[in-house]
Symmetry: none
Subunit: 126 residues, 2 copies
DNA sequence: TGGTTAATTAACCCTTATGTTAAATGCATG
DNA sequence: CATGCATTTAACATAAGGGTTAATTAACCA
């Protein structure tokens, strides 16, 4: 199993179901049953996915009554993003061909941060 | 196995050895033996890691003679970074709404003598 | 052709991941 | 206190991941 946090984060993000869950949480907190609804897999499976996300620091969970509210937490995500950008920049520094592409992409994102649709479009639920 | 590209990328990044390899490639192209050198694992293991990285589109490989030059390729990395940033922004957007609420509450708390960080999460959000 | 070097593939082992169903836990309430 | 609802844990099956050593492929060179 992944021992370091970065490995945990990437490992957590490697599953489309978990990415879908995160995207949904980006839209607002939700409990387990609500999160499970759109998926064809069992509740225990979702419960375990949530545990993985929590272990990666990507969500926090709050027991309220018999419900457990799940909330997005972006610190870990940012840590991972930073790592990736650092790598991109290493490469850019050597060849600086992708630099324009990257900057444009970043800028585009910053300009449209209220665009809250279709994060995860590859939908791999079999 | 991960079928979609994004899953493959994150899955590839979930392994510290593979991340180390990528970081090293950020410093310049290298062949398999060179890449394997710093690691305590066998050459076939490294070879397989490289295959995973290639499958995720994170490196390209070029057979030159009996050597295989491995090069970083950042497009996939950027795709993944974009996904993560998008998610972060979704959350930031939501959080900034919450922030107003928090500031108000903080102020209220400062007016009283309480030091508690007992902050309501927004519950009925949509 | 045969030898050397670089890298991969094959066959195997063990651990982890992901799913299932059934049982258990936690909590609210009649 | 029994019942119901939300969620987790247990026990299990199976697939995938990552490592090993041994054998194989590929390219170069004498």
């Amino acid at each position: 199993m992944a021992t370091d946090q970065l490995s945990k984060v990437f490992s957590a993000l490697a599953d489309p179901t978990r990415r879908d869950i995160l995207a949904r949480l980006g839209d607002g907190d939700a409990n387990v049953t609500e999160l499970a609804a759109p998926f064809p897999i069992s509740l225990p499976a979702i419960s375990r996915h949530l545990k993985v996300l929590e272990g990666a620091g990507l969500i926090t969970r709050d027991r309220q009554a018999q419900w457990r509210t799940n909330s997005l937490r972006t610190e870990s995500l940012e840590e991972a993003t930073t790592w990736m950008q650092h790598l991109s920049h290493l490469w850019d520094d050597r060849f600086s061909r992708l630099d324009v592409h990257l900057s444009a992409m970043k800028q585009a994102l910053e300009n449209t941060d209220s665009d809250k649709t279709d994060i995860d479009k590859e939908e791999d639920d079999d």
